[in-house]
């Protein structure tokens, strides 16, 4: 069953190729259905492979393959890791990189939720993108994105992951600037791309460091040889990885592209900028846990980055007026929690939160999309309110998402965030207190967003602050949009069951353990501490919801609670502009002069020289056989004269 792994990638790739070739002929909505079918097929294969991994996990041996404990070779199994060798790729001198897929509990967990949620979002998009001019193109990009994401996750070495990493970056760029006629969308796409490029430098540095020290780029071999890394190089590698992760996963200092990326269509925000792509950085850190484990300095930096991002983004989220921007900062904050979990070596919890977050954040974004769809594209919460009655399906499912992210038991978020916080507590109670404060803010800002959107007066019927006409009859979305909402709501409600803290015989934790080989920090907390922590989480969640109810019940705006400092993201972009933007502009103006005068001059000079030479050669080629024969004779004479000199030397 494990050998089918390549099909997980093949289906979306096939889908995108078919859409590229026949897409325009198929048109709406067939193209959308084709895209959805490709992803669904990929999901089915992922499930099959998942059972293969599960079976291997129970028997520790796959028939026909080597068993656990044997030296690793293509097709063998160690720590539940199965390497599928597809073909040799680069084989230069001592450098080998094969196109190998690494199928293990970690990668298959990622595949399951990536393909599952992608299938839902593809289905949703058929209705959401209805009537768009570039309907087919949207699905081409979306299928390509899923392909790249799966290559990123399943790649058996750093180079393949890097290809996927760049692929998702490019697809994200295309999709953010999907409405490229809008200036804001075009520049948001560019911003996302440039921030990501900075992170990519980190990834490349990490590849160079690991290759120079360990002479391999394969994950299995890196894990085996990680012990040879000196502490200094381990720290350098981890720092490079943190830079990579902060670019892709929108962490400090590179987090500010994500809110702008909300210019893309809402399904894109749900899939790429909430559920999947932005978690790639966390995945990378988890995949290279063998390296992260070696550097306590690195872990400290990871903790710091994660916690700072979680806190800053949470404060900013409390003051956003655009529903998607609010959710975007919430995403940044939640990924901060995942990074924090990685920093405490609590990898299982990071993945658990990643999965749970994928469920509820995709749900929340799709819900917001449903609202925006109903209100003809309105995203400002000032013009919402009272949608409870108008959009009952959206309201019900969104409520589950809200309770899940707020951390109310027994929804998925409670367990996932709980397991992260347990690990933080085991590391340092001070960090735990800060993280708990952030959890309180989470409950607060999500409740504010929920109240502003669904309760209170129906502000959308009135004329907007900028003179927008009122919306008379908002309508509930069609079934293709409601069905994913319901499925994701069920997953958000019951998703905690995949890893219940009191069950130790099965669950995500047990499944992933062979990969990470660490005892969860949560296990080191005593039983009564566990109970205390769980109660604290629940209390904080309820308190946040209550606080928001007191402050925001029936209100549309409270300027005193949303200061400019928070609205403008701690003046982050202004600082970047002053420190990097303006000096860089001045520098590039100077460089432009050098470029025009010096470099262009040199290039043009060379080009002219080459062209003149070419013209001369063309004249020499005059078409007469005698000239050609003369050339041969001259060449022959030159040969012979040279050889004569060799004879007499």
């Amino acid at each position: 069953m494990l050998h089918a792994a390549y099909l997980i990638i093949a289906f979306p790739l096939l889908g995108s190729l078919l859409l590229m070739t026949f897409g325009r002929r198929l048109g709406e909505p067939v193209a959308g259905w084709l895209g959805t079918a490709a992803i669904t097929a990929s999901f089915v294969v992922a499930v099959v492979v998942f059972f293969g991994v599960l079976h291997a996990h129970q028997t520790d041996c796959i028939p026909g393959l080597l068993c656990q404990g044997s030296p690793i070779a293509p097709g063998s199994l160690l720590n539940d890791q199965f390497v599928q060798h597809l073909f040799n790729w680069v084989n230069v001198g001592g450098f080998h990189a094969n196109v190998d897929l690494l199928v293990d509990p970690l990668s298959i967990t990622m595949c399951l939720f990536i393909t599952g949620i992608s299938a839902m979002i593809h289905l949703y998009s058929i209705a959401y993108m209805h009537g768009e001019e570039d309907f087919t193109k949207f699905f081409i990009y979306l299928n390509l994105f899923v392909t790249s994401m799966l290559i990123l996750v399943l790649g058996g070495n750093l180079l393949l992951t890097f290809i996927g990493w760049e692929g998702v970056g490019v697809c994200s760029y295309w999709l953010v600037s999907y409405y490229f006629q809008k200036d804001s969308a075009a520049s948001a796409g560019k911003k996302a791309f440039i921030y990501n490029r900075v992170g990519d430098v980190g990834f490349l540095l990490a590849i160079f460091i690991l290759y120079s020290q360990l002479h391999t780029v394969s994950y299995v071999e890196i894990f085996q040889r990680a012990g040879h890394l000196s502490p200094l190089w381990a720290t350098m590698a981890v720092l490079a990885l943190v830079l990579a992760a902060s670019g892709k996963s929108a962490q400090i200092p590179l987090f500010n592209w994500l809110p702008d990326a909300m210019e893309g269509p809402t399904p894109v925000s749900a899939l790429i900028h909430a559920a999947t792509m932005v978690t790639a950085g966390v995945y990378l850190l988890c995949r290279l846990h063998g390296v992260v484990n070696l550097s306590s300095t690195g872990q400290g930096v990871i903790c710091g980055v994660g916690l700072a991002t979680a806190f800053v983004a949470a404060t900013v989220a409390t003051s956003q007026s655009d529903i998607k921007k609010g959710l975007a900062f919430s995403t940044v904050s939640q990924i901060g929690f995942m990074v924090l979990a990685v920093g405490t070596k609590n990898y299982e919890a990071a993945i658990f939160l990643m999965v749970a977050h994928a469920f509820f954040k995709a749900l929340l974004f799709l819900g917001s999309g449903s609202v925006i769809h109903a209100l003809d594209g309105e995203q400002e919460m000032v013009r919402m309110g009272g949608l409870r009655k108008v959009l009952p399906w959206t309201f019900g499912t969104f409520m589950i998402g809200w309770l899940a992210i707020a951390g109310v038991p027994p929804f998925a978020g409670f367990f996932a965030k709980g397991s992260v916080l347990d690990g933080v507590f085991a590391k340092s109670p001070v960090l735990w207190a800060l993280a708990l404060l952030t959890a309180l803010l989470t409950a607060y800002y999500m409740s504010r967003l929920f109240y502003l959107t669904f309760t209170g007066e129906e502000r959308f019927t009135a004329v907007g602050p900028n003179g927008e006409p009122g919306i008379e009859h908002p309508h509930e979305s069609p079934w293709h949009m409601r069905f994913p909402l319901v499925v994701l709501a069920i997953l958000s409600a019951a998703g905690g069951a995949i890893d219940l803290p009191w069950v130790h015989t099965w669950g995500l934790d047990t499944f992933l353990n062979p990969v990470f080989l660490t005892t969860t920090p949560a296990a080191t907390n005593s039983g009564s501490t566990q109970l205390f922590l769980a109660i604290a989480d629940a209390v904080v969640a309820v308190a946040g919801i209550g606080l928001a109810w007191v402050l925001w019940r029936g209100k549309a705006a409270r300027p005193e609670l949303t200061p400019a400092f928070l609205k403008r993201v701690w003046f982050w972009d202004d600082a970047y502009d002053a420190v990097i933007g303006r000096p860089a502009t001045a520098l590039s103006k100077a460089a432009a002069i050098v470029d025009d005068e010096v470099i262009d001059g040199a290039v043009l000079g060379t080009a002219t020289l080459v062209r003149r030479g070419a013209d001369q050669l063309r004249k020499a080629q005059d078409g007469y056989v005698r000239t050609y024969a003369l050339s041969i004779a001259a060449g022959m004479a030159a040969f012979l004269i040279y050889l004569v000199t060799r004879v007499f030397s």
Binding site: N88, D596, L604, V610, G613, I632, M636, F639, L643, R646
Partner: protein, 516 residues
């Protein structure tokens, strides 16, 4: 009087050349005995089947070679080794692809189809003989069989002046270089007492030549003969005229088959017989390789006719392949063989597309007629752009790995300046390929005025890229299924082995190792 002893003959070694040669003779007999003209389908199918037959036999030979090692037959005149099997496989593939490409072309231009296929098969069998020849006389035999059939093939387009002109030039100069080659054989025979390559090599390694004048002159003349055949500078000047004048499928065939045959014989003669004299002749070929890459590349960018441009680009490629002869190492052989195979495929595909774009009479090869092609014929434009990018050495195509292979071998041999200069020439030649791409994609049917040259972009386009006259009206020729199939195969090979190169690289590497 001694009875003549008949040497033992291994028909297995000769099987591929026999398949093609006997097949073409039978086809000729059938075509001349039949009262009606042989239907095109029959001659194409025969040609493809013969190519397939030769390919299958060659693959069996490869299997035999891997198991039992190399061997020689006919008193050491022919060998079965890595080089010969490599030539057999490459040329068989080229025969199949060319037959597919030519099918529609011949019908369109109302040529005698059987005539073309007979000559192509004969010429191919000449290339196979050159690949397996272990004796200078047999090399010459193969060279002449290859060349004489090609002279006629080039002249096939009787209504076109350029075709006749090209063929005549090719014939006259080919005769000249053959004479030089034979003289080289005579001199080296005089110096070593044999024309058998293995014996010459043994003789030269066992004895120190005190008065090497005769030997060196012979080597020099043989090098001239080979350099003419592979179109190395300064023996290249026939190439643009012949490539331009020949019917386009013939051009593709020449670029593939004549180069493969010439290069492999060149490699074998200089490795087996004259490797002991390498320090003497290497500087010569070093200079020739350098001149070939540079003059090929710089002349390519000055051309307005795409067929001529590709002729110069083939000269540039020849310079790269020559690097493997210069270094004379196993890695160099592997690089050259890989380059030959991949270039053959790319060239046949590219010229197949040119044959389609040339219009009803195969005359519209001016760059102007390519304007706005991407809008008019997106599939054709894309295929051509991809094949040209592959020729330029784009990563993820075989073209990249081909250049990489020979350059790597050159660097490993310590010839770093040569490698660097060759790469510079590759950059120059890339301009020529990109220029075609830009004309296809970035221009419309309306002619744009050449700008006065105020900014870099304008000047560059005005001078190098878009200096083209008003549009010629073309009668579009559809891509026939057979042609499409051939182009598809070429693209698939170019990209498949560019992304997953393992199998083909191993093939070239082993072929280079298994030299007898």
């Amino acid at each position: 009087m001694n009875p003549i002893t008949v040497p033992s003959i291994s028909y297995f070694t000769m099987a591929p050349m026999l398949v093609l040669f006997v097949g073409s003779v039978l086809l000729m007999a059938a075509a001349s005995l039949l009262r009606h003209r042989l239907p095109e389908v029959v001659s194409t199918a025969t040609s493809v089947l013969l190519g397939l037959g030769a390919l299958v036999v060659s693959i069996l030979q490869w299997d035999h070679l891997i198991r039992h090692g190399s061997s020689s037959t006919v008193a050491g005149a022919l060998v079965l080794d890595g080089f010969s099997v490599f030539v057999n496989i490459t040329v068989s593939c080229a025969v199949i692809l060319t037959a597919l490409v030519a099918h529609d072309y011949l019908a369109r231009l109302k040529f005698d189809s059987a005539e073309f296929h007979i000559l192509a098969l004969l010429s191919a069998s000449g290339a196979l003989i050159m690949g397996a020849a272990n004796d200078l006389v047999v090399v010459f035999l193969g060279l002449e069989i290859l060349s004489i059939a090609l002279y006629v093939l080039v002249a096939l387009n009787r209504k076109n002046e350029k075709s006749a002109e090209g063929a005549l030039k090719y014939f006259v100069l080919g005769g000249f270089s053959s004479a030089v080659f034979v003289y080289g054989i005579a001199l080296t025979y005089g110096a070593t007492g044999s024309t058998n390559l293995a014996k010459m090599g043994t003789y030269l390694s066992a004895n120190v030549v005190h008065r090497p004048g005769l030997l060196l002159a012979g080597i020099g003349l043989l090098a001239v003969g080979f350099c003419f055949k592979i179109a190395a500078v300064p023996f290249h000047m026939w190439t643009p005229d012949v490539y331009e004048g020949a019917p386009t499928p013939v051009t593709g065939f020449m670029a593939a088959v004549a180069k493969v045959g010439g290069f492999v014989a060149f490699l074998r003669v200089f490795e087996t017989a004259f490797s002991t004299q390498q320090s003497t002749w290497a500087p010569l070929l070093y200079t020739v390789a350098l001149l070939t890459t540079f003059i090929g590349a710089t002349s390519a960018i000055a051309q307005h006719n795409v067929k001529r441009m590709l002729a110069y680009s083939s000269i540039n490629h020849a310079g790269f392949i020559l690097l493997g002869v210069v270094v004379l190492t196993k890695a160099g052989f592997a690089g050259s063989l890989y380059y030959l195979f991949t270039y053959s495929v790319m060239a046949i595909g590219t010229f197949a597309l040119l044959g389609v774009l040339g219009g009803a009479r195969d005359e519209d090869h001016d760059l102007t007629s390519y304007r706005g092609l991407a809008k008019r014929r997106p599939g054709v434009a894309l295929s051509l752009a991809l094949l040209l990018l592959a020729q330029a050495g784009m990563p993820f195509t075989t073209g990249f790995l081909a250049k990489f292979g020979v350059i790597e071998a050159t660097v490993a041999h310590g010839e770093i300046p040569l490698a660097l200069l060759a790469m510079v020439s590759a950059t120059i030649s890339a301009v020529a390929y990109l220029r075609v791409g830009i004309v296809m994609y970035a221009t419309h049917d309306v002619p744009t005025p050449v700008s006065d040259g105020s900014s870099f972009k304008d000047r560059a386009e005005g001078s190098l890229l878009l200096e083209v006259e008003p549009v010629a009206t073309t009668h579009e020729v559809p891509v026939a299924p057979t042609t499409g199939l051939a182009i598809g195969i070429c693209l698939a090979v170019t990209f498949y082995f560019g992304i997953a190169p393992g199998a083909l690289l191993d093939f070239a590497r082993q072929a280079a190792q298994l030299l007898r």
